[in-house]
Symmetry: C2
Subunit: 429 residues, 2 copies
């Protein structure tokens, strides 16, 4: 019999335990093992009610490490306490399933090595995009593939806010307030809205796809705070939807990894991922383009993903433990591409004085930087200040080059304020 | 070491063998076993060129059953010869991977039992929707879920034809010719265009999700032959796209299983699955709505799916073979719902004479059958015959009831010809 210790009894923990107890026989049968929850630990466990008497309870999370369980499910959250728990669990030869993306993105390198050393299983299907089976697909169906790129809409908060701005004409701050009211955004939304959560998730996918160290600390991260409703409207006129995307991509010598807003052409199915839904698009050298879409968060979806790892744990214990888990992890030393060297198309939104020659000044500045223009629209002045918004889509140019051209444009006499710069998603990514 | 015999060396077989030989070390490492192809058999093997000398060749497909291989990959196609091969393979205690949907949909019941009896693995990831990991997801991530429904756009031929009719204003016959030229449709397209291929695939998914006998022989199947371009245009006006969908769904006592065209609302991401792409939408009681999208056919995508089953075979041999494969198969005796008892919304397209009172006649006929109208549009006469097309979307009514009302409407004096009837996809399905 395999015994499970559950650490953390919040929304996901409660869902997990109630589902597990209801379907224990089915899960055991599906895993071809007797499986039971032996202990649940939560700092505020006294306050909570249980209706099971075969399960031990503890308010000391670390005590689970000393119990007789074989597998610890870490749902504590945060990074430091979770790390302490997982390290001690592995050192005590216990396998671990975690839903903690920050933990894997920031300390996965160390935890993978430690789990190899102690020959235990470390599962994290729930850490990326909830119920979307992307970890399983990368570890299984796509295992023998050459992964060309992975692009994901993997932060529900960003996607909800951008969708509200687009579909219901909300401003960023209104949409953020709505997201907070609905529980889709935290009181301090920086982590989601700033792109860090998506960066954690794509880091994990990059580690799996390219067997590199976590790119989190070296990757480019940009949030959606500077997206204005007019940008969404102008993009729409040009046939694009603005989404926050995290992506990783193999080049000949390096790995690109970045998280930022993009314009996605409406003919790309990613542009139709609305509300809080998540989607991960993977391009393989043989299977072509694949998209996995589903609920990226929520107690039930996350618990479902955690439970799917229980069978992986059983298979590991019985079948794969003679092969070190991720033993070929880090076969690649490819570094993360410097953002300055990455070329994409750009959307530019420029406020100019409504005077003759201003368009010529902008276009000749771009031309002097060898940047060409794929599309341009000039709009009526927005307000009484008579500034005209000019919107352009450039050809594919490096970040370095576009920044230098933008500096020059912003210094022109007839240009007002900052130029808003958003990348255009490349369908070949 | 595990030895593989490959039967059938057409497009998929060639892709499979070349990919396997190129990545043999990686695949072996990923599977934690030494794995090699020991024999390839094809009736016209003499005509084909190989550059390997460690592989035996045979023009006698059944000879592979007598060889020393552990696993036979069946890529012969057809039903009868493939069945003979697979049955003999299993009887000789060899595991089987097949990409043959017809075989599993029509004889899966028997083959599952036989593979249990001989304790061998039977894999068929490639049989449904090519590179889309739906079999793995159902067998793994969704294994402990209560599957509420599965709906798929799983025939690339139908989807390509309908997409061409919609996006490029082609007629059905023009679009079919284009599909044939591009190799997306057979010379005799009946099997795809008539809905039978999609029915095979959904039958397999229903067997896995609901543990029932194959519903193929008892399910409702309708093709896209009666979809006209005007229907696509009228649907578009109402905010819908016409797609061919196969779906299965649990009711309290029975299982729905059917394949037919539907109007899908444009807010549903399924409506954006274009060209030859496939998508499978699964709704679970806990993970919510999931959509898996990708290439449903093609040599490389299919070979990729076949190769993903090689690891499953290894896991089965080492880990699961003490548990009979699919031993709990057929735990459900739920029957397939009679199509007459299934209620959906319907799109009706009626040609009427342009005379006063005709709309009243139609609507009162519907009312007398207790059918209400959710949307109605009346169009300008199409041709010189002065017939006016009337398009309606009804409330949800049973197939039986709508047919009886349609019979009545078609008998009205001012109605010309047949009423065209297309189901509306329910977002809750």
């Amino acid at each position: 019999m395999f015994k499970i210790g559950v650490c953390g009894y919040g929304t996901v923990g409660k869902n997990l335990v109630s589902h597990f107890l209801k379907y224990q026989d089915l899960i055991s049968n599906n895993c071809n093992e007797e499986i039971a929850i032996s202990i649940i630990a939560d700092r505020s466990i006294q306050k909570k009610k249980f209706d099971s008497d075969s399960i031990q309870f503890s308010s000391d999370i670390l005590s689970v490490v000393q119990s007789d369980c074989d597998l610890i499910i870490e749902l504590v959250g945060g990074v430091e306490i979770a790390k302490e728990l997982v390290v001690k669990a592995i050192q005590n030869n216990k396998s671990v399933i975690t839903a903690n993306k920050a933990l894997i993105a920031e300390h996965g390198d160390e935890l993978f090595k430690l789990s190899n050393k102690h020959n235990v299983y470390l599962g994290f299907e729930a850490a990326v995009a909830g119920a979307i089976p992307i970890i399983n697909s990368l570890s299984h169906n796509m295992l023998n593939e050459n992964i060309l790129s992975i692009s994901g809409i993997i932060n529900g908060t960003c996607n909800y806010i951008l969708d509200q701005m687009s579909s219901n004409n909300k401003d960023f701050s209104e949409a953020l307030s709505m997201a907070q009211e609905l529980g889709y955004a935290e009181a301090d939304p920086t982590f989601d809205v700033g792109g860090f959560d998506a960066a954690h998730k794509i880091s994990i996918l990059a580690m799996l796809a390219y067997r590199i160290q976590s790119p989190f600390k070296n990757m480019y991260i940009e949030g959606i705070e500077n997206i204005e409703r007019m940008d969404i409207d102008y993009a729409k006129e040009l046939g694009y939807t603005i989404k926050h995307v995290a992506l990783t991509k193999a080049t000949d010598t390096t790995i690109e990894c970045r998280a930022h807003p993009v314009l996605i052409h409406n003919s790309n199915i990613l542009s139709n991922v609305d509300g809080v839904m998540n989607a991960v698009r993977t391009v393989g050298n043989r299977f072509g383009t694949s998209l996995l879409y589903g609920q990226g968060a929520g107690g039930e979806a996350t618990a479902s993903a955690v439970i799917s790892n229980i069978k992986d744990f059983c298979i590991y214990k019985k079948y794969e433990s003679n092969k070190k888990m991720n033993e070929d992890y880090l076969i690649s030393n490819r570094s993360i591409t410097d953002i300055n060297a990455i070329s994409t198309q750009y959307y530019l939104r420029i406020f100019a004085n409504d005077v003759p020659g201003v368009m010529a000044e902008i276009t000749s500045t771009l031309a002097s930087h060898e940047i060409s223009i794929e599309a341009v629209t000039q709009h009526e002045p927005l307000n009484s200040d008579k500034l005209i918004p000019i919107v352009m889509i450039t050809n594919s140019v490096s970040h370095e080059k576009i920044l230098s051209s933008i500096n020059k444009i912003e210094s022109l006499n007839n240009i007002n304020g900052k130029v808003n710069l958003i990348r255009v998603f490349c369908d070949n990514d």
